[in-house]
Symmetry: none
Subunit: 292 residues, 2 copies
DNA sequence: TTGCTTGATACTCGGAATGCATCAGTTCCC
DNA sequence: GGGAACTGATGCATTCCGAGTATCAAGCAA
């Protein structure tokens, strides 16, 4: 079995792609570093790095192991911190994930409310896209997510926090800003579109497919974050479908026009594992559902 | 910093609530176990166990650390297993490009076969024309392409997957449907033709130039996708040369007549970079060439 | 060719973990 | 009340592992 030190060694080498520099970063010399990585590879059972007597590069297995290694080390660092916080008499820790987009809208007020209502609870905030949040909850690395459907209704409970409109982000002075009616699919026939990633931003992708049949050939970029979309719009690369709260970004070079879609279609939910035993989470849920 | 062994020691003690039995379970003697747990507690910074000279019990911090510890060890066990699976090609990602036309014919069965043969491999599908696929492979953004010649035989390996006939798409009731012999170039002298794009659909363009000398002036549209061609035929804009599998589209307003060209001239190849290191690709190739 | 770079290996040394023996505190029972 | 039994901690000798130094081997450049 391998040790965390070996994982740390591997991480440094994988990031530097150079044993000498990695050793320097770890405050050790190169030979023991080589041996530690060799040991790790023997423990894992497959080569993680390909050494070329001149260059070092990750194998495919090494690439995915690197991801796991990062998570492992993060968890290894977080565990004692968590234990210390508990021991220090704090009421607990609430690990809250949020999407970049929800950060603009209600994250601020929500954090304020939580700290008011549960002043002794430490809040750990992490920005992740929805699926990553769901995965993190499933792995027990997160207590509460601010995300969008779909998610497994079996294992997760949720509550709708916010409904907002889907609007079209366009550069200022764009022809569509001069329309005095909501933009329809027909208006977009010849518009380059900055599209959503079909899996990472599945919620928006599905919504756009459903309400606005965008010509496949019009999609000029595929991205997963609202902020990136707006930047691309500002750069004149096309128009984009974004939640109304993107206005709060205050980005120059972007303005927003109404779309011919139902109001309030963009939903933001609080999502949690119904089997979680974190007392801080339950305390928060009591605040969220004052009834129950 | 602590080690995974220390965590394993703590886990055993926390579960047994007895140093002696925990030591037995870990195949070690009791004194070093005590010291390992002490070390872990020093690393974490707070007591995790309360020893009572008669009983052992978890502190509050110990309880939450126990949970984290379990997760940590699970992740530490899972990571190498995952890496081994990746290296064996039994898991991972296979990025598969396909032309719209190949989508109608064998993409479905191929995808089915891949998911049967390599159930843990994620398939990323992307529709691109052949040259874009080749470029994507060259840039390392795609592992496998379903495309048509020509492509650089130096850097790419390939395998013929399908040969089919070139047929003529015409509107139903068209004069050429009443011929009782294959259509020849002469029959097309006065027909408006929906033509292929000379670079984006070079394979079909070259093939048509080679087998049927179409009058230049007859070409009323130049498009690069079979589906677009068929739609234009259905709209009565002309006739078009398409692979027989376009029948599978089931488009109303289009029927197909035989052409006086050799059978099986439309080829579809699986194409890949012979220097690719993706184990999932190699696993798939083993499936494709059971011989080698 | 020579010299430089880079990762692997040989060897020695110091620190850490192990196991044995033992201690110290508690509980139980006669 | 006192000794036996039990439990976790500690002292000590041994062993083992990992670190550092020196060096090697392979590839590349001039």
């Amino acid at each position: 079995m391998y040790t965390l030190d070996q994982v740390r060694c591997f991480l440094a080498v994988a990031e530097e792609l150079h044993f000498g520099r990695a050793a320097e970063r770890l405050n050790m010399t190169q030979p023991p570093l080589s041996r530690q990585v060799q040991k790790l590879e023997r423990a894992v059972g497959v080569p993680l790095l390909e050494r070329d007597n001149r260059h070092v590069e990750l194998t495919t297995a090494g690439t995915v192991f690197l991801e796991e290694a990062r998570r492992l080390l993060t968890a290894a660092d977080a565990a004692p911190a968590l234990a210390r916080k508990i021991a220090a008499g704090r009421a607990g820790v609430l690990r809250l994930g949020f999407t970049a987009a929800s950060g603009f809208s209600l994250l601020g007020t929500l954090v304020q409310e939580i700290t008011d209502f549960m002043p002794d609870v430490d809040l750990d905030l992490q920005e992740l896209v929805t699926i990553e949040q769901i995965e993190a909850i499933r792995r027990g690395e997160l207590d509460l997510a601010l995300g969008r459907p779909p998610f497994d209704q079996e294992s997760f409970d949720s509550r709708l926090l916010l409904s907002e409109d889907l609007v079209l982000a366009v550069p200022p002075g764009h022809a569509l800003t001069r329309l005095d009616r909501p933009v329809t699919a027909a208006d977009l026939r010849d518009q380059p579109v900055v599209g959503h990633h079909p899996t990472k931003a599945r919620y928006f992708y599905d919504m756009v497919v459903r309400y606005i049949a965008v010509e496949h050939g019009n999609v000029v970029h595929v991205v997963s974050q609202i902020l990136t979309m707006c930047s691309l719009v500002a750069a004149g690369r096309g128009v984009a479908f974004v939640p109304e709260s993107a206005r709060l970004l205050g980005l120059p070079g972007v303005t927003f026009v109404e779309l011919d879609v139902p109001h309030g279609v963009v939903e933001l939910h609080a999502i949690w594992d119904r089997s979680s035993k974190n007392p801080a989470l339950h305390e928060f849920l009591r605040y969220l559902h004052p009834s129950s």
